[in-house]
Amino acid sequence: MTRASATILVVDDDPSIRRGVAAELEAAGYETVEASDGAEGAKLAADREPDLVLTDLAMPVADGFKLIARLRKGSNIPIVVLSVRGGDADKIRALDLGADDYVVKPFSVPELLARVRAQLRRRGGEGAAAVLEFPGLTLDRERRHVAVEGREVHLTPTELSILELLATHAGKPVTIRQIIGRVWSGAPGTTPDAVRVHVGSLRRKIEPDAARPRYIVTEPWVGYRFVAEPI
């Protein structure tokens, strides 16, 4: 992975935040491009072909939602939203429009950099390998085999499908609706509670410490995120 050469487009109407975020990214070795609204962001995304877009939501001219929708028309570039809006409605709307992740202001810089790394890595590994390896956890998608700390774990087909969906989108929040759509093929009558029950039992099987889940994290009201960084 060529982390140092990745170019990141930062879109925010507040100059001190835009500059501050760009400075942190540059210090971490990325190249940056800055835009102050969604329209300028869309133009720069076309001109400079960045590897990732970090965007605010509330902006004049064209807001973040418009930018996400426009970018998603012809590209699968990773998009991470940076917004003070902590409301889950905005979060779900941004994710549904095609954003890959959502960081709420004020955020910690290490957290932001971790999210950026996760998205760039996911992009590098798009199409996902047959065997996914994370610290302490291996998922062999062809053999339908999961091992935690070297020990095989027996999962039900539903649990395995959920794990596969989350792990192939490591670092990205997956909504409950997406899980129902992919794992149950959107079968009518599948409730969020059913998803919770299966995720609960999946966690009991793969989490070494149930009190401190390290692989599957709940995104309140939204869904789940697989957090482990691959090896």
Binding site: G20, V109, R196
Partner: protein, 342 residues
Amino acid sequence: MTAFGHAVGANATTVGFIYLIVVLVAAARLGFAAAVAASLAATACFNRFFLPPVGAWTIADPANWVALAAFLLSSVLVSRLVAKERRRTEEAEARREEVEALLAERERFLEERAHHEALKESDAFKTSLLRAVSHDLRTPLTAIRLGLERLRRSAADTPDVDAVSAETERLSRRIDNLLAAARLDAGATVPRPEPAPPADLFRGALEALPLVLAGRHVTVTVAEGTPDALADPALAVEVLANLLENAARAARRDTPLELAAEPDPAGPGSVRLEVRDRGPGIPDGLVRAAAGGPSPETGRGLGLVICSSLAHAMGGTIALLHRPGGGTVARLELPAAPGGAV
């Protein structure tokens, strides 16, 4: 009246009309039944005192029979008309009162609606105001944090930067607390409970305090059979983060902090989430603050007062307890999700 008739020497026809007036007055004032009674009495008197033979109940001239019958009939008919008119007037009066009552009702309704709309508008105003306040407070905080990161990279003396960063984190959480309380208070948001595993709530609280907890030993335990909480996850995390921050500030850095979840021994309806420390114990003012009482004079318990109101908004409670062996247990009890542990 009869005497008056004789005294003025009135003839029978005049007296008949005077009797008729009496009957009419009775009809207008007292209704049809009274008028009929008056008619009969008047007819009898008319016969006895004015129709020959005067002073007797008999009638000599057959023509006077006809006159008497005509008098009775006309007085009854007129009574009926007058009584009917009187009833109509009463009904009209009743209707007018009804209409007036309806109008008053409508006016009150319109007033109430205007009041309600004003309230709604003020709610919408509060919501957008809170949104603006949230944006205007959090944006500079984000810029400050970014500036501190830049400073950390160039500064020779990072402990100062760390101290400022930790205080920024604290300020940031206090703003979150106040905004959450203000939103609930203004009705701009209502708690939105969902089944929340205690482990996720603890994780959220730990992630909210990276600087305060840097270098601290924190253990997390979730007892077997602990149900999920049925709570607004964001509010629950906020409460736990505050309790954890209080514990971290109260207890020495080299003492462990504990986060523990267990079923409520009182029954399956609620779940206990505890933050335990080995600090000096409960400061007096904070007990009142935990109970949601008046803010302590020093303002030290502000976070706790807010936590208590957030907990109540979720149908939960907060209690501060003396910990056996020294220290404090801050206990958050929340409703448990149906279906028990997931």
